[in-house]
Symmetry: C2
Subunit: 316 residues, 2 copies
């Protein structure tokens, strides 16, 4: 038996929505899990990178053994019904750039979980899948949109359950994702965050994220411009993303640019704009990063409204 | 010349919306400013309490001289057009309980400003009035709804300008305001707040306030229940409001109760509920506070959709 799952990339945080907001994007990993026939062969993990990166970072850095995060996800699902995984071949066809703030680990976790759930006859419902995925990933911001699609606000409640709501993204607001040719490991991006923050910064972000949700419902670009400001994570991560402050400054006075935020923990940058000044945005970001000797892969994308999907299930 | 302005009470914070949300309520102060004829009479301030309180706290504690906050507001407005106030009789007819977390000081500031603005021929527009009122009060959460009415999210931007948006409050959600017979000065309620808070508490509140706005737009009572939770101010103010934790606990499992939050900095408590179980809510709050020897004035109110209004302007 062999199951393939297509899982979208995700961009989390949106500035003020740190640890709260995430959105699925139309870049995909395809995770295939196949039951192998020979007993005793254990778990085999293969990674095929299909990103445009020429540095093969993906292939090098994804572990091929049980330390791979996908193994933990699959194992937790098996364990939840009193079983253990074995004799599985897991193939990861990776188009989502790794360690760029685009939810590649979330997509692998979600793909592994959904494929394994299908293999086992769907013992886990959505709530269970959300909980396991969040436990493996550490936070729900990326795994939830990877599972349900669209733009979502998420929260892990104290009982471990995951709350989410889909939010409406105005079609006329463009998303341009700018991916530099360097990586930041999420652990490093987490480690630069302080344990405590000024109360004034906390209330600053509260106000901004309230504006974010309101701006979505009323399609208020002026309000969204303010809503994207953040004091809880970007100021601390700025030093990990050379060029970010310059890009923000250079885009600030561009007509039609609503805002510019870190995608997830970075280093990718998400630019939100109105109308069709995308070429201008691309050239500003490109030129700014060129000053830092950074090459950039820039893509204008739509929201992916679908979450992870079973591509094929062959029961041979 | 004599101007009277009717200004609503306000309830701010709504749990997670600390320093962000405020709502006008149908309890009013009436501020009258009269130009007196005799030169050299200066500023005269009279306060008439019309609250049900028998302790006359209002009368005793409102200063009758230039240290009254209304004087500062009126003076700032006069100064903004290069004048100074003099020969004014200011009457404050006070129905809004003082130091109960119901925006009584905001209403006095707003009333003074609007009356003075009318007297001077409306030199200040809404933006200017919002800025001056916020400067005098220290934050925009109460003065903005007192001026514009309804439920609003507010923010003071770094250039001093005040941003606000009106939010839709579902009619089927009832507001019960429970006013205990003790006071908390706002300065004390502010002084117990820490300068720094855990980052996890900051992101907790961000998620909750995002839920708050979403719950309003989708009339989602289940989400609102979560949205009202707060970690940025109520935990620190709990000790100033004996009985609050018990009231929260006693209401927690009541059907139809959506939540229970501090009104402003307290000590009043705002209970939000669905359908008509108001008598039950009243008796629970009443009985709980009675254990603390606290008498309670409990009122079920509608949102006041109008802000401050000029009642009469006589140009005699």
């Amino acid at each position: 038996m062999k199951i393939s799952v297509k899982v979208p990339a995700t961009t989390a945080n949106f500035g003020s929505g740190f640890d709260c907001l995430g959105m699925a994007l139309p870049i995909y990993n395809i995770i295939t899990i196949e039951e192998t026939v020979l007993p005793g062969t254990g778990i085999e993990i293969n990674v095929i990178s299909e990103t445009d990166d020429d540095d093969d970072f993906a292939i090098e850095h994804i572990p091929k053994d049980e330390t791979n995060i996908i193994y933990k996800a699959v194992e937790m699902l098996y364990n939840s019904i009193g079983q253990s995984p074995s004799e599985l071949r897991i193939n990861i066809k990776s188009q989502i750039p790794i360690a760029k703030g685009l939810g590649s680990s979330a997509s692998i976790i979600v793909g592994g979980l959904l494929a394994a759930n299908e293999l086992l006859g769907k013992p886990a419902d959505e709530a269970a899948l959300l909980s396991i995925a969040t436990e493996v990933e550490g936070h729900p911001d990326n795994v939830v949109p990877a599972i349900v699609g669209g733009l979502v606000m998420t929260s892990q409640e104290h009982d471990g359950s995951i709350i989410y709501r889909k939010l409406p993204w105005p079609e006329e607001w463009h998303l341009t994702i700018c991916i530099p040719n360097y990586e930041i490991a999420t652990e490093i991006a987490r480690s630069v965050l302080p344990k405590e923050v000024p109360l004034a910064d906390a209330t600053f972000n509260s106000r901004r994220v309230a504006m974010f949700v309101e701006a979505l419902h009323t399609k208020d670009a002026g309000l969204m411009k303010l809503a994207l400001q953040d004091r809880l994570h970007q100021p601390y991560r700025m030093k990990l993303v050379p060029g970010l402050q310059d890009i923000i400054d250079n885009l600030k006075h561009e007509e039609n640019v609503i805002g510019c935020v870190l995608s997830g923990a970075g280093p990718s940058i998400l630019v939100i704009s109105q109308k069709n000044n995308l070429d201008r945005i691309k050239s500003i970001v490109n030129d700014t990063w060129e000053n830092y000797n950074v090459k950039t892969d820039i893509r204008t994308l739509k929201v992916e409204s679908n979450g992870a999907q079973i591509l094929e299930a062959s029961y041979l």
